[in-house]
Structure formats: C-alpha cells, structure tokens
Amino acid sequence: MTQTSPDQNSPAQTSSAKGLNRVPLAVTPTTRKDYTSDQEVRWCPGCGDYAILAAFQGVLPELGIARENAVVISGIGCSSRLPYYMDTYGMHSIHGRAPAIATGVATARPDLAVFVITGDGDALSIGGNHLIHTMRRNVNLTILLFNNRIYGLTKGQYSPTSEVGKVTKSSPAGSVDAPFNPVSLALGAEATFVARTVDSNRKHLSEVLTAAAEHRGTSLVEIYQNCPIFNDDAFTVLKDRDSAADAIVPLVQGEPIVFGAENQWGIVRTATGGVEVKEVAEVGLENVLVHDAHDPDPTTAFALSRLTDAGVLQRSPIGIFRSVERPAYDDLIREQVETAVGSDPADDAMVNDLLAGSDTWVAAEA
C-alpha cells in the first residue's frame, strides 16, 4: 500500500496535555488571526455567540497544536454556524448529530483535536441520545454547549432548557415542559469532565475551555449564552452587577465554595448528603465545602448542580464541577485495532487466507 495518512507523517512533537497528547504541535506558533476564516460572521448584533467565538479563537493558539489538526463539528442552530468562522477543518452537519459524526472523526484519528459546537435544542432535544452516549463512552471530544434557553434560528420557540411557563410563539399559554439541567444530565450520563461558564466572562470562559480541551475523554462545557432577540432576560440575574455576586457561585479546585460581594455565603453539606447555602459567619469557614472536581464519586458534583434553579436561574455555580480520569472510548477501540494490526500491516497473502477460511476444496480442470 502506498497511501500514508498524516497521522503517520506527523511531526514527532505532540502536545503534552492528556486530551491532546497525539495531536502534533504547531511548528510556528499560531495566533487568533490564523484561526479566523474569510467568512463574514452573521449572528444578530449583541449575540453571545460573538464572545464565545472570540474566546475560542483565542484558546486554540494557546493550546499550541497545529491548526490543520483542529476539527470543529457542529449540528444545526445559531451556534452551529461557528465552524464556518474558524479556519480549520470543520463540518456544519445535521441537527443533533454532531456528537455522532465527531465520534467517527475522533475514533478514526487520534492526531486530531475534535470540538463539537452545539446548542440547547441541538444537544438536549433532537440530539439528546447522541449526547448522552458520547459522554457514557467518554469519546475524546470537547463539547461546547451554547445554552440560550430558546430556539433562536427558528425564531423563538421554547427549548428543553426554557423555564416552565415560558410564553413563546409555540407556547402562547406558557410552556408546561419541565426543563433539563444540562450539568445534572451530563453527570448522570457518566461524563468525566463537566463545567459551566458564561459568555460574558471571557477569562473564565477561556480557562474552562482550555481545561476542557486538555482533558482526555468527553468534556461537556455548558456556556450560558445570551440571545438578545428572543430571550434577552434569561441570564439577567447572573449578569446584573447588583445581583451577580449573590447569584454566581464560583467553583475553584481546592478552595471553600464561597460567594457574595463579601464572600459572605458558603456551601455546606446537609445532613441528608445534599448541599445548601449558609452564611459563612454563621457556620464558620472551616465548615464550608471545599471544592474537589476530582472526587471519583459524582454525588457532591451532582448536589452542586442542583443549586441551580432550572426555572428562573436565581443562582448558579460556574466552573468545573467534575474532572476525573476514565479510559476514553476511542483510545480503547484503537488499542484493540492497533494491537491486532501490530507492526506489519496485512498483505495480499493474509487477505487471501482470510477469504479462504479453513474449509476449501479444489475443482480441477475438467
């Protein structure tokens, strides 16, 4: 066979991050500009997607990988336009199917850094099945879930993260659908990396995306993203200067979970194993829960995820809920194939033997 694949030709130097450890490094460092395609960005003015695109384009050069080894796969929806704006390999695929398509890419090619761009409708409604099974398998992908809690592209119907009672074009009397909490869902689906961040917090967004890309296995990052046209008030409490401090609960590895303008609030464990908010002054800082995303038991991470009221979003932890190690599906399946192939690829004689099997007979010339 004469064909060689780039994975065999790739430079010896690969990333040291676990999630990218077979991805070649850029020979000359890349910049945000290298990742910007020639396509005009077409989201509505004020859309949170602009900030996420900018952060993403900033994070990729920092990862140090070769640009040609980055692949961005999206489904359908406003967010899923993003691959067109990235000068990488990419595919704007089918509504809900991006995790399935990306699973094929990631399994075929360990030398690629594969990102999935999706939204609340794409990932949690039409593509819910692919999302949970991708996380269960722990395919080495980084999933950016843009959650604006509304269907934007189809002009404003309620989504699986919209609050009960939401009045939209398709729910004039108020939606009666109970919403998903995406972080709780991901934890329940055995995801090994689950985080939440906010479009308007560039620094936090970039840090979380970097950690997600460097994690080996499926990383699910829920990004609260504002839709100024159809759901402009969805995150007001979390973004308004006066209310944000009491609403956002930053999760910092190894630190007590405290929040509020004066860090006057703390998270403590309840007698029944859940968590609740108490005044630090009342319970003492030593009794405030110390955040540990590496805890193999997801129980605490799940309890933290329940602090978010899936209805009106009065309060929400942001940061990395869970980051644990578990073998990635694509590594395991590739290992089976690589072990079977060994150092010498199949040749004609081996294929002939396979086709023949063990029971053959010969018909001679008549």
């Binding site: 066979m1 004469t2 780039p6 070649p24 395609s37 020639d38 396509q39 070769a66 040609e68 080894n69 692949v71 796969i73 359908i76 691959p83 067109y84 990235m86 000068d87 390999y89 990419g90 595919m91 704007h92 695929s93 089918i94 199917r97 399935a100 398509i101 990306a102 699973t103 094929g104 890419v105 990631a106 399994t107 075929a108 090619r109 030398d111 690629l112 099945n129 692919h130 099974h133 399946i333 590739r334 194939v337 072990t339 079977a340 192939v341 690829p345 004609d348 081996m350 294929v351 396979l354 086709l355 023949a356 099997g357 029971d359 053959t360 007979w361 010969v362 018909a363 010339e365 008549a366």
Partner: protein, 616 residues
C-alpha cells in the same frame, strides 16, 4: 444394501428453534460443499429467540439443495423432511411432494406435543401420511442412549439429538464424516465432555444407519462440474463483509464500520468485528443515525466509512445520506432487505426497499445503487460499491436481502493480488486561488472526467476547509443562496452519479432461441428466475433472460434491450417497484410479476407462469 445415484436432493431439517436445526443444516451443507456438490441453502427461522417450545411459531428450518450440476435455488419442495417434533411436521409437510421421505423423531410425538399443534391422533400412527415414505425413529431416545456414559443432564443429553440425526443423514447420503468431527472437536475444544458426547451421538447416528435394516438404500449425489479453482462455501452476509474489507484493503484505507444491531444485517457487524487485524474498526452505535453519522465522520477524517442495516434502519439513516451527498464524501450503505413495512417479518426476505434506495431521501439526492444477486456475488457487489464510493466521492447504496444474506453457496476464491487497486487520491496541495489571488483549496473543484471533488484529510496543512449541509458555491464550497448556483450544483451532483455509467457494463441477454418474451430481474431473484427459465426452455418454451445489477445508474443499453422484446416480465419480491422505474424511465410497457410472501419466488410457480406466457 445398495447405493442409488441421484442428480440432486433437497433436504429440509425442521425442529423447534432450540433443536439446533440451523447448525445441523450448516454442517451438512459444509460437508456437501467440500465434497464438491453444488449447493444452495435457505435458512428459515422465527424472529423470536425461543418461541414457546413445540409450537408452530417456534419451528425453525434449514433447507439445503445439493446436486451434481449447477443449481440456482434452494429448491421449492424438499425431497426429504426431517421433523424433530409434531410442530415441525405440521408446519412443513404440505411442502413435501407425494412420495417424499419423512424422517420424524417419534419420541417427541407425545400426546402433549400433538395437542399443542392440534393433532387429534398421532400422524405417525394413523393413515394421514400414507402418501409419503415415513420413518418414525426414536431419534432422541437413541441419542440419549449414545451419550449415556458422559453423565449429562437429561436436557443436555437430549440436545445431542441433532448430531445423531446429522450422523444418520450423513450415512444415508454417503457423506464423509471427517469434516463434522473436526468441526465438533474445534467448537467444543474447551468443553471436552460436550465435545465427546456430540461426537458419540454423531457416530451413533451414522452407525444406526449402517446397521439398521430400516432403510432400503443409501443415496449418492456426485460432484458438480465447476470452473477450475479453489472454492469455499459462503453466506451472503459474510461475502459482503469480505467484499467491504477487501475494498478498503485495496484502497489502502482503514475501514470504519458503524452499525446498530438489526436482523438480518447484524452478521455483517459480527463478521467485521472479528477482523481488526485488517485495520477494521467496528462501532456498535447507540442508534442507526449515530452508526451512519460516525461512519461519515470517519470518511471526513480520511477513512472508509461504511454502515449497514435493514429497511427500518436505512429509513433512519436517510437524513445523513443527504449530508453525505451534499458533502460528497465516500460512504457505503448496505441495506439487507427484509419483509416490511415497519417491523414486518424481520427474518423473512423481500425486495421492497428498492424505491427507498433509489429515491427515499429529501431533496434531489441521487446516489448509485448496486444489487447483489447471489450469496457469493455479495463479495463482488460490495467491492464495487467501495470502488465507486471512493472514486466518485459519493455514498453508494448496496442492496442485499435476507434470502442471499443467510443463504450459502460455493464461492470460487479470488486472488486478491489480481484485484485492481483503488486510489483514494487524497488532495495534498492547493488547487485554486481566492478573491485576493492567494493560493487556496477549493473543496468543490471537480475532476473534469469523473466530476468527483477532491478529498482532503484533516491534518493536511493549507487545505483547511469547512463542509456542511448548507448549499455550496460551485468550486469554493462556501455557503451560497444564489439561485443559479443551486440549480447548477443540483445538476452537477446528478451528472456525477449519471457519469458512473461508464463503469457499468451493458446488460447481456441470454437468448439462445430468438425469443420475443424477456424475463428481467434484479437482486436475489437471479437464482429462481434462472432456474425457471431453464425449465421453460426444457419444456420447449422460447424465453430470453437478463438480470440488472446496477440499478443506478442503469446500464446504457437497458432501454434498447427492453424495446427489442414483445413482452418484458419483471419478477420481484415487491409490488412492482423496478417495473415502475423501467416504465417511467424507458416508456416500455413492462409487466410486473409480483410475489410478496417473505420467501424467495417459487421457481416452479414462476416456470409454470412463464411457460403460459411464452406459449400464448
């Protein structure tokens, strides 16, 4: 004791679905094939894994036709029926012609078992089977006695009755026993007691035939003439898996096979999952959609993506086929058809997905369609599907069906070194300039000859590009809503598929007598039609025959062939789907001959009907 020579024999092994009839039939087939008979098989089993024991729905059968000449079908009616219980007798006896041989396990004809299927008296003892030669033998009892020394439970001991029966049939038909002995030794290598018990039962069955005076004759069916070469016995699903694997190998590409289990396609997944040595990755997906989605993703990444399913699963995949057509990536979709619609009869055969394969997608979404004709032909059909998919950067639909998927026949082994290589011709360099006159990669700049677009693997510096479902600008592949561009791209995708006709050989008509009636088929009806045509000719009828393998694009001479006959008869296991396509495409008044019973078209019924047609 004398040995009587026969040209051909059809045996049907029938029993409860737990009785091991498929294995018994498989083994007898393997021995017949290795001996040099021509063979054709028809497994027929219930969709339920273990239907209630002893009931009609629980009957599983395996029919084998073996002969000293080139045969085309597993036969309509068995010369020999092996019935392991009253249900098996009741379900099958009407297919046995008068005078046929019936071997029944008398041990199982108990009051209770008879009552389960509505026999008021024991048919082995009353006169209801007088038209047949009936051998009521205590097969279970003799098998249990043969394995007594191994101390098995009664249940396990009883299970050896299929090997006892196989031994008896091997004696009756003058077969070698070494093949089955080797098979049992290997299959139960880890379970020496079970291995020895099965061998003992098998040998006891053979010895019983030899020593009993119950049978007047042994029968011998000689070798069939065959083109020189090395042969093996193969089922359609295995041949299909081998064709895919060989295609990927000849292209130098790793294969990514995504599938979700579904009858009767699952054996393709099972087979390929064993062959990681040949750089085959199998992905058992969460659903049909993920199976094709991941396969398409792998193709985007530069591997050969393949998926397989049956009708209902293919329906789920159709949206992704649209994306594969839009992104113009290689992909092979195998549809192992079964009786539909909906769950239908999952273990029974049909050709009713033809229109789904040709047209069952949203938008103008043409793709090539190839139909395999026989079990062994599944290899060539799959290899060709891979070749087209890679060469033309297109999804290709490969049609098989339950009949040839599970059926077996001898296969003359190809020499892989003589198969032409397939060149994926990955793009490695830029191929155009952008608006600012910079060198750039145009993912939709086509090869002028094939109209195929370049295939650039991620990881290739300088060729970064985005694909997607949105309408593409000709050349650059950028999003385009330009009406003229859309019209042009729709026509280009159609033209690319139409152009594959240059790979399609003309149909060849077999017409030795200058007939004015043509019988035309596609897919698995090849066997029954060919056998029926032989009968018509043997009876003095003049009839021409042709078979279409390339359903899209069809052979260039097809219209001309259709127009040159007074009548064209198209037998299909559907309500006339190909007949409709031919009428629409060629404006020829073809006549549909339609049977939708979940079984292959009966060759004797077809022969009678064709004879009527040619004589009038």
């Amino acid at each position: 004791m004398s040995v009587q020579t026969l040209d051909r024999v059809v045996i049907r092994f029938a029993g409860d679905s737990g009785d091991g009839m498929q294995l018994t039939g498989d083994r007898f087939t393997a021995d017949a094939a290795v001996f040099g008979n021509d063979i054709s098989t028809l497994p027929n089993f219930p969709a339920e894994i273990r239907a209630p024991q002893g009931t009609l729905p629980g009957v599983s059968s395996f029919q084998l036709h073996f002969a000293n000449y080139d045969i085309m079908t597993p036969g309509d009616s068995p010369d020999v029926l092996v019935a392991m219980n009253p249900a098996a007798l009741k379900a099958n006896i009407s297919d046995v012609p008068r005078g046929g041989l019936v071997i029944a396990d008398s041990n199982e004809f108990t009051k209770r078992n008879l009552a389960k299927v509505g026999y008021e008296t024991n048919p082995l003892e009353d006169d209801s089977l007088d038209a047949y030669q009936v051998y009521a033998l205590d097969l279970s009892g003799m098998a249990i006695a043969a394995v007594k020394e191994f101390g098995l439970t009664r249940k396990d001991a009883t299970r050896s009755k299929n090997m006892f029966t196989l031994g008896l049939l091997c004696w009756m038909y003058d077969r070698e026993t070494a093949g089955t002995e080797k098979f049992l030794t290997e299959k139960f290598a880890d379970k020496p007691v079970i291995r020895d018990a099965n061998l003992a039962a098998f040998r006891a069955g053979y010895a019983f035939g030899e020593t009993t005076e119950a049978f007047a004759n042994q029968f011998h069916v000689g070798k069939a003439p065959a083109a020189p070469g090395r042969y093996r016995q193969i089922t359609g699903n295995r041949a299909l898996a081998f064709g895919l694997l060989t295609g990927a190998y000849k292209a130098g590409l790793p294969m990514f096979f995504g599938a979700y289990p579904i009858t009767p396609a699952s054996d393709v997944l099972h087979e390929l999952s064993k062959h990681k040595r040949f750089d085959v990755t199998t992905f058992q997906a969460e659903d049909e959609i993920a199976a094709i989605g991941a396969a398409l993703g792998a193709s985007f990444a530069g591997h050969l993506g393949v998926t397989s399913s049956s009708g209902p699963g293919v329906a789920l995949k159709s949206e992704t086929m649209g994306l594969a057509i839009m992104t113009e990536l290689p992909l092979v979709i195998c549809d192992i058809q079964r009786a539909g619609p909906s769950t239908g009869m999952p273990t029974k055969t049909e050709q009713s997905d033809l229109l789904q394969a040709l047209y069952g997608r949203h938008g103008e979404a043409p793709l090539p369609v190839i139909a395999a004709q026989t079990p062994a032909d599944c290899f060539d059909a799959a290899l060709e599907a891979v070749r087209w998919a890679i060469t033309y950067r297109t999804p290709v639909m490969l049609l098989s069906d339950g009949y040839i998927a599970n059926g077996a026949e001898p296969w003359r082994l190809p020499d892989v070194s003589e198969i032409a290589p397939i060149d994926p011709e990955f793009a490695t360099e830029t191929n155009g300039t952008d608006a600012k006159d910079n060198a750039t990669f145009l993912p939709y700049k086509r090869d002028p000859e094939t109209l195929a677009r370049p295939w650039a693997k991620p990881g290739t510096a300088g060729l970064e590009h985005r694909l997607g479902g949105l309408a593409k600008a000709d050349g650059s592949g950028s999003i385009s809503y330009d009406p003229e561009n859309h019209d042009r791209m729709v026509r280009l995708r159609q033209a690319k598929v139409d152009r594959i006709v240059r790979e399609v050989p003309d149909v060849v008509v077999d017409d030795p007598d200058g007939a004015d009636v043509l019988v035309l088929g596609w897919g698995s009806t090849y066997g029954p039609i060919t056998a029926a045509v032989r009968r018509v000719r043997a009876a003095g009828g003049r009839i021409a025959q042709t078979h279409v393998r390339h359903l899209n694009p069809p052979p260039a001479n097809l219209g001309e062939v259709l127009q040159s006959y007074r009548r064209v008869i198209v037998p299909e296991m559907n309500l006339g789907q190909f007949a409709m396509v031919l009428r629409a495409k060629y404006l020829v008044d073809v006549e549909s001959y339609s049977r939708v019973r979940g079984l292959p078209i009966s060759l004797s019924e077809l022969a009678d009907d064709l004879l009527d047609i040619v004589q009038n």
